[in-house]
């Protein structure tokens, strides 16, 4: 039994449109609230997305050194390099020659002391530096790698800073954990705030709803224009929020450019991907619909 009015989308569109036009105060407030909430969620998403990239970048510093014996031929070295590259979790292998090692040592903190000045021979060994794949940047995987590589001929010693490993791992877990916790609170809060605001906006027009009931409007007949209104407000709010986020991002970027470059070198922060942007706007529309539905759901909307 399909009701006749379902064949009349024009009524719903017209009613939703005039509802929007005739309620600039409540509609405007809903749009602003949605825009602001999505701005908050978007800022956070942006921060987290860029933080992940920064963490990845730091993770690249996550190297293990395999110090080489002094007497290796180039062929030996090439073979060894290949074997090491095939070991579990290794993403890239870099060679540090004896000269490069000395250079580094001199540049390092401790190397400033006149420690090696007297020696005519370079006592530092060459080494292979293994960059680990992100998922292997933890103490367990390192131990496994050490076991696998330790026996290889040509490797004198195998070294990594255990503190640095667990420190990095802890930092990543902490940042991710805090981000998730705050993100959850933020998403829940904005969800509640937006639906509540729309509820209040519909509530401000509760007399309308009750009159529509009295003249025989069915639930669906009454609800559809409000849901359309909510969707439209959500959509506009989402777009406004996104635009604000974009503007803020490009306003804030130059201010932090200096410190960022110093800290991260070539990593420069990027805006949300198009898909995430679309998602943000869609979430706005969804919240608008949800809020209207919640408002209409609460019985006769009487206090």
């Amino acid at each position: 039994m399909s009701p006749r009015w379902l064949s009349r989308p024009r009524y719903f569109l017209r009613t939703a449109w005039s509802g929007l036009r005739e309620s600039p105060v409540t509609g405007g407030i809903s749009v602003v609230t949605i825009a602001l909430c999505l701005l908050l969620v978007g800022s956070f998403a942006l921060l987290v997305a860029n933080m992940e990239r920064i963490l990845d970048r730091f993770g690249e510093e996550f190297r293990v050194s395999a110090y080489l014996e002094d007497n290796l031929t180039d062929a030996d070295l090439a073979r060894l390099r290949e074997r090491v590259a095939a070991a579990p979790g290794v993403e890239r292998v870099d060679l540090v020659t004896k000269e490069a090692a000395l250079e580094r040592f001199r540049a390092s903190h401790i190397g400033r002391a006149a420690l090696l000045d007297g020696m005519e021979d370079n006592p530092l060994p060459a080494s292979l530096e293994l960059v680990l794949a992100p998922e292997h940047r933890n103490a367990d995987a390192l131990e496994r790698l050490a076991e696998a590589v330790d026996g290889f001929p040509g490797i004198a010693e195998f070294g990594y800073g255990a503190d640095w490993v667990s420190g990095y791992h802890g930092a990543v877990a902490l940042v991710r954990g805090v981000a998730m916790a705050i993100g959850a609170v933020l998403v829940l809060a904005t969800l509640l705030i937006v639906t509540n605001t729309i509820r209040l906006a519909v509530y401000a027009r509760r007399d309308e709803v009750s009159i529509l009931r009295l003249v025989g409007g069915s639930r669906t007949f009454i609800a559809i224009p409000y849901l359309l209104e909510g969707a439209a407000q959500g959509l506009v709010g989402g777009l406004v929020g996104l635009a604000l986020l974009f503007a803020l991002f490009h306003l804030a970027l130059p201010v932090f450019a200096g410190s960022l470059e110093l800290l991260l070198g070539y990593v420069s922060p990027s805006f949300l991907e198009p898909r995430a942007c679309a998602g943000l706007v869609a979430v706005g529309a969804g919240l608008g619909v949800l809020g209207s539905a919640a408002a209409l759901g609460q019985g006769r909307l009487g206090e």
Partner: protein, 241 residues
């Protein structure tokens, strides 16, 4: 003037509205309606009268399922109102026209949209809707105001708008609560003629009024409530003029 126990004009199975020993209590210990039995047939026109607070509005609200009786049964258009599921209520209401004592107009929609609403809820096609709304507005003298909003109408104009909305859909039952309280005598007669017309076309009509002149003039069946009880049910008389 009391005619208690007199058979109503259109009694029996053909009645569109039937009340069996209906009582209503809003507040424990007080009765807004008390043991009222009543029938209303097709095309019948009844004046509902009685002092302020006698229960006239309450009786009407129960007929269009806005309130449930505390006791007794109400059958409207073949449906037992007290056993109606909430989802069946709108369908019933679409067959009943109601002029509310306080109008209940949508202030955010135009005059034209307020009247059209009664057609929108049943899904009347756009062309027919437009024609019927315009004809109805013309009959109550509001066609020149059709793009305005109710809040910019005078009291009497709002009342006529409420009447137009109730009548535009040719309802099977019409409940008009004090429909001429804000109208001048000339308009009152015009509007009452409109309502009498509807009755002549088969609508069962209830008109609550305090206007004894009106009751005299039309000489229809009169139901009088007093303190919630049925004090009088006088059958139809010939109009005096």
């Amino acid at each position: 003037m009391k005619h208690l126990g007199v058979e109503p004009a259109h009694a029996g199975a053909g009645a569109l509205v039937r009340l069996f020993h209906v009582s209503k209590s809003y507040l424990a210990g007080t009765w807004a309606l008390r043991d009222v039995s009543l029938e209303l047939g097709k095309g019948e026109f009844v004046f509902l009268t009685g002092p302020s607070g006698a229960g006239k509005t309450t009786l009407m609200r129960m007929i269009f399922a806005d309130e449930q009786p505390s006791e007794g049964q109400i059958i409207v258009l073949g449906r037992n109102v007290s056993r109606l599921s909430p989802s069946a209520v709108p369908a019933l209401r679409r067959r009943i026209g109601v002029v509310f004592q306080d109008f209940k107009l949508l202030s955010r929609r135009t005059v034209e949209e307020n009247v059209g609403l009664a057609l929108d809820v049943v899904g009347t096609p756009a062309r027919e809707r437009r024609a019927r709304v315009f004809a109805m507005l013309k009959r109550v003298g509001l066609q020149h105001r059709r793009y305005h909003h109710p809040l910019s109408l005078s009291g009497g104009e709002q009342q006529r708008l409420a009447i137009a909305r109730a009548l535009v859909n040719d309802p099977e039952v019409l409940l008009a609560d004090e429909p001429t309280g804000n109208l001048d005598p000339d308009l009152t007669l015009e509007i009452m003629d409109l309502i009498a017309d509807a009755a002549a076309r088969g609508t069962a009509v209830f008109v609550a009024t305090h206007d004894h002149g009106l009751i005299e003039r039309y000489g229809r069946r009169v139901v009088r409530l007093e303190g919630g009880e049925l004090a009088e049910d006088t059958p139809i008389r010939r109009p005096l003029l």
